[in-house]
Symmetry: C2
Subunit: 527 residues, 2 copies
């Protein structure tokens, strides 16, 4: 029987809090003991990835407390309830089913009178068939020519995840002959965003994927109009250039304005929708359905690991527990995500939404204020770029910021250059290994300005290459990490009421129904 309770109500919480400051990373990671930790503190993931946490501030004692915490907080049971179709999004009274878009972890889940796994597979197949027809030249533009570009119109979860996934695989696909169509993304209501994308493409050979679950997202509908105007101005029929990804009940679902419509539902939150048709349509068009299926397979394999009740064999659960130890026991305010892969340039922005929108909350799932801190600030840029930027603060600033590295042994594009006895890829890999140790152990210098205190914890996920499977596993890892942290903090990680007030006030501004400071600011903005 599941009991939803606050983090600070279980015995292991006190145990964990008492272990604050327990591990001295500088000594733990030094010499042979450090090498032993690297061997010992590793949890295999799917698709050949591995989560390494040797440079985290943990030891047997801390891990044992975290394992107790996982049991007392019933993390595995709660995940089981989720994938078996219980109402986990309690505020909105919804199931949480994004894992079903890539596999069946538990029982058959029925909702809206259908088997939801069958439903998601069906929509995926519709998108796959559509993409194949486009690639085969069975669906053409009015002039009988093939489409060469796909443009996703969406915002938030309909943009950040799919965009990050596209960029992650673009070079890989080009190298492997799978780049069927180039993809672009329009998201911002700033008209310069759409204008800029439209100027960079050939609209006559572009397919637009409009993504809005409700069919009412202001930014997305505005940008749709923008695009339709551009198509009409070019003498083209918008209905021959657009498809929709939406819910079956949305006004877009049955519209004749689209070549096709692919459906999602209320059980998949925007930020968890990359493996649904929200990601599936654009990624199948860009790379072909086979590549998208490989991506899903990687995520499904990783989801299975997340069902293991032993955190030491469940990297997402372990990552979540260590993150809570860092946030609540150690008191660290932020986490940096640092992929040593240019292909993952927008992956941190996706995780920023995934994490901060899920767990940036102050009341528990019953609406009661919690008396502990919850989700941290998430930010990051790819290495080695970040090394020449904000790493100064990470190494020598007054706050400790835990780090989440990601690295691959091989690059994607198959081009490299050997300079001073090493390839670029080797330099990249050497840098991430070096950073982990520099952060953990620091280095004494008699000049205090050149002194590195160390004691700055990091983990690294290492893989062979960023393939579709590896990307799916990576995505699943972080989705499940965020879910487990939500369970630990007793939050509803699947709603986002915090974005509503701004929308309401913006409508009031546009209707000129304001007074006081809001009117004053509106006047300043000339509205």
């Amino acid at each position: 029987m599941i009991s939803w309770k606050n983090l600070d109500t279980v015995p292991a919480y006190k145990k964990m809090m008492a272990l604050r400051g327990r591990v001295n990373l500088q000594t733990a990671m030094a010499g042979e003991s450090g090498a032993q930790r690297v061997k010992k503190y590793a949890a295999p993931m799917a698709a050949g990835l591995c989560y390494h946490y040797a440079a985290k501030q943990v030891d047997g004692e801390v891990l044992s407390a975290l394992k107790e915490l996982a049991e007392e907080m019933q993390l595995a049971e709660k995940f089981e309830a989720l994938y078996n179709g219980e109402v986990i999004n309690t505020g909105e009274k919804r199931l949480v089913l994004h894992q079903l878009t890539r596999g069946q972890l538990g029982k058959k889940v029925m909702a809206d009178g259908v088997d939801k796994r069958t439903f998601y597979l069906g929509e995926q197949k519709k998108a796959a068939d559509f993409a194949k027809k486009v690639h085969a030249g069975e669906i053409l533009n009015a002039a009988g020519e093939k489409f060469t570009t796909v443009v996703q119109i969406g915002i938030g979860g309909s943009d950040l995840g799919p965009r990050a996934m596209y960029l992650a695989l673009e070079n890989w696909a080009r190298q492997n002959g799978s780049l069927k169509m180039e993809a672009r993304f329009i998201s911002n209501v700033d008209p310069d965003d759409a204008a800029s994308v439209l100027k960079s493409i050939d609209v006559a050979h572009s397919l637009f994927v409009l993504v809005s679950k409700s069919g009412t997202t202001l930014e997305t509908l505005t940008n749709e109009s923008f695009v339709k105007d551009a198509l009409k101005n070019a003498g083209l029929d918008p209905a021959r250039h657009m498809v929709a990804v939406t819910s079956e009940t949305s006004p877009l679902a049955k519209s004749r304005d689209y070549l096709a419509a692919f459906f999602m539902d209320d059980y998949i939150g925007g930020r968890y929708s990359s493996t649904s048709c929200v990601g599936g349509a654009v990624l199948s068009l860009a790379f072909g359905p086979e590549v998208f299926e490989r991506f899903l397979a990687g995520a499904a394999e990783e989801d299975k690991l997340a069902a293991n009740p032993d955190p030491l064999q469940n990297p997402a659960m372990l990552d979540a527990l260590i993150g809570v130890y860092e946030r609540n026991a150690q008191g660290y305010p932020a986490t940096a995500v640092l992929p040593y892969s240019q292909a993952l340039s927008r992956f941190p922005a996706h995780l920023q939404q995934l994490d901060m929108e899920s767990n940036g909350k102050s009341v528990n799932r019953f609406g009661e204020p919690v008396s502990y801190v919850t989700g941290p600030v998430i930010f990051g840029e790819p290495g080695t770029n970040g090394q020449h930027s904000f790493y100064q603060l990470l190494h020598q600033g007054t706050d400790v910021i835990p780090l989440q590295f990601v690295g691959f042994r091989r690059n994607q594009a198959g081009m490299d250059v050997d300079i001073q006895g090493s390839t670029s890829q080797q330099k990249l890999c050497a840098n991430v290994a070096a950073q982990i140790m520099a952060f953990a152990c620091g280095k004494h210098d008699d000049n205090p300005n050149k002194h590195f205190e160390g004691g700055r914890p990091s983990s690294i996920i290492i893989g062979d290459q960023l393939t579709p499977e590896a990307l799916g596993a990576l995505l699943s890892h972080f989705e499940n990490k965020v879910m487990f942290q939500g369970f630990l903090w007793n939050l509803n990680s699947f709603d986002q009421e915090g974005v509503q007030l701004g929308k309401v006030l913006a409508k009031r501004v546009l209707a000129h129904e304001t007074d006081g400071a809001l009117k004053a600011f509106s006047d300043l903005m000339d509205i």
Copy 2:
């Protein structure tokens, strides 16, 4: 006489700390009093911009304490010393002269036997003349054809600032007939970065700008080789396609491998180099020298305001003081930068370097540990995109994160669409006005999950349009803000020793001179 002293040694510090929690934003910003604050709490900037701080947690009392702090910490005198050429980068025993690239605020500054203003102007003119010749077709490729694309090769300050500035003006320039050449940027040592850029351009018509002050930056030299290989493979002579931006003493300075070389010096840190030739070469090639001069003029005008000793008439100083109040008295750990302009999509990444690399330090300029927190984490994405992402945490998370908005009344590209009675630009502007008020005042709801506490401070810089002048003013504002905060925390904001250890260890990894955990991680990465 200037006295360099720690923030917590002056009387106004105690006064400021005692004012923690003084202003209740919810009540201060409500009703007519809120409207009055919007009128009163505004500091005009250059290029028609204005810094609005009504929604910050300040009142007469707080501002008066901050003014005393500015006086006791001698902020104006320290800036004066800086622009008059004193050795402000004490650790490295260097002058700090980036303001001289755009104007002469004080005395003539002599160094290395020359008047530095004359030197910077001379290099700027060299870059301008070169750009004009390229645009006029006087400098052509080997086939006698014009160059159409410029590619900057650099990392850190040689990348983030120039890239952010280029993106900020690309649409504006296209609309105003000033887009002479499209620009691309290669930065990461990840070989997929260069591969990806090279695949997106026509190398035969591309000019490459290699930027490295020392001429020894690993990533940049590696990427240069990568590019040279690509040029040779295409049957082209690299020396006809490359220019260098470097110091006069670097190995690149006199090399015959470049069509031209433009010089910077040790008095301009990478993150402060956008207005030097580091930004000047690529921006003059992309937009023409006249646009770059307008950008410099905006920065110069804003620099003048920063010399005013009265913080109420010095927006950069005021912004810095309020930031220190938020960080040290209020205890906030991070600051979000939120431009409501897609053109500023990489501006937050530039500020992240500028701020975190300058002030992410734990020892003062004499190498003594400070007993207060210094630079915060800086992160951000453009609105309205961020609203659909991490704003959830900003509105309802357990930590308060101060916000720095930027907004413009008009867009750049001159295309817009009217939906539901308003243009996209009006929607964009309405949203930023609405967000300020939602963060400040919140809104009571009986459902605790839909309740907004408010009390989350923000400022906004408002301008008419993101022109070259406005961009220059914006850049100068933040450079000077960071400088003043460095003075307040008594840091040397102009060195970056925290990036060295990682470089040293990476070299050791590549030389296979490692043991312990570093060897273990290197083995895992297959090096």
